[in-house]
């Protein structure tokens, strides 16, 4: 009997490992930036290209930095949630408009609503590299000291918002 139990045991362990491995999302790579200060930048604002924005202006506030683009399909998917969130005024959302055309971006916001306190243009994608962006949309939760506390890779979902992002924001706002 035991001579069958051992291979069976090994087989079950193998299946368990495969089941866990196959259900992980390979796109969710843990970011080394979580727990580190948000990289500095100074970029033109989307609506007023003559004026610049730098994250240090947000010192003392908890805020979300959402990386988006008009060419990004998943951004459309998360957009209504962001609009809802901005109306609730729980936390300010800033948009990093990533590798986009200004006209397209403005049209997109006009059509779908603008949840952002301000959008910033990263036309070259250089700031995106500093933030380790590899799949738009991505959302960063940044605390009062300017440290990245959480990174959402891919669209913000209801579950991610209620389960992780909002509780974290409330915790950080205390």
């Amino acid at each position: 009997m035991t001579r069958f139990l051992v291979p069976l045991g090994i087989f079950i362990v193998l299946v368990a490992f495969l089941a866990i491995g196959l259900n992980l999302n390979p796109r969710e790579v843990p970011s080394p930036l979580v727990g580190k200060p948000a990289p500095a930048f100074e970029l033109p604002q989307l609506h007023k290209p003559d004026e610049k924005f730098a994250p240090r202006e947000m010192q003392g506030k908890v805020w979300l930095l959402n990386v988006w683009a008009s060419w990004c399909a998943s951004c459309r998917q998360e957009h209504p949630l962001l609009v809802d969130l901005s109306e609730s005024k729980i936390v300010p959302i800033y948009g990093l408009n990533y590798k986009d055309q200004r006209e397209d971006a403005l049209r997109w916001l006009k059509q779908l609503g603008d949840p952002y306190v301000m959008s910033i243009s990263d036309a070259e994608g250089r700031t995106g590299i500093d933030y380790g962006v590899y799949g738009v949309p991505e959302t960063y939760v940044i605390d009062k000291a300017g440290v990245i506390r959480y990174k959402q890779i891919g669209p913000v979902t209801r579950e991610a918002l209620d389960g992780k992002i909002l509780p974290l924001v409330k915790e950080l706002q205390k």
Binding site: P26, R27, V29, P30, S31, P32, L33, K99, G125, R126, G128, I129, D130, Y131, G132, V133, Y134, G135
Partner: protein, 159 residues
């Protein structure tokens, strides 16, 4: 004669023009070579089974441009690697560094091999003992065998 001279002149001019262009190219080739050797070690995060060198993803192009720029700025390979790892994590490296968290990744296969060989040796030894036990004859059988062998030997000697 005059025509020949003109042709010669234009040919030479062409050559010098090519030569002039070749000079900056040479440096670019060096930069390109280093860029490729670095980016072959890096994973493209958009299409994860491709290296940064081979990927056509937009991000990969941006990152290659970034690497080229850093090479021109005189950064060492290690500095460029650290730049990438600092932003995208150890996962961008095809050869992850040896750390507590990557211990199983590096030595897991070796551990499995050792466990496999140990099991095999244990099994073979046990089996060898079992075969030896099975081969051992009772004294009665032993006497029978000896009698038969003797008989065969005798009949062999006097056909």
């Amino acid at each position: 004669m005059k025509r020949l001279f003109l042709t010669l002149c234009t040919t030479l001019l062409c050559c010098s023009a090519i030569a002039k262009e070749a000079a900056p190219m040479a440096e670019d080739v060096q930069v390109e070579k280093r860029m490729v050797s670095i980016s072959e070690e890096l994973r493209c995060l958009v299409c994860q089974n491709e290296s940064l060198a081979g990927s056509h993803a937009d991000l990969a192009q941006d990152l290659r441009r970034e690497i080229r720029q850093q090479i021109r700025l005189g950064k060492s390979d290690k500095e460029i690697m650290d730049f990438m790892v600092g932003r995208y994590g150890d996962f961008v490296r095809y050869r992850p560094p040896l750390k507590a968290t990557t211990f199983l990744l590096w030595f897991g296969p070796l551990l499995l091999l050792v466990a496999g060989v140990a099991t095999l040796l244990l099994y073979l030894r046990r089996r060898g003992r079992r075969v030896a036990d099975a081969a051992a004859l009772s004294t009665e059988d032993q006497q029978k065998v000896e009698a038969l062998l003797k008989e065969a030997a005798d009949s062999g000697r006097n056909p």
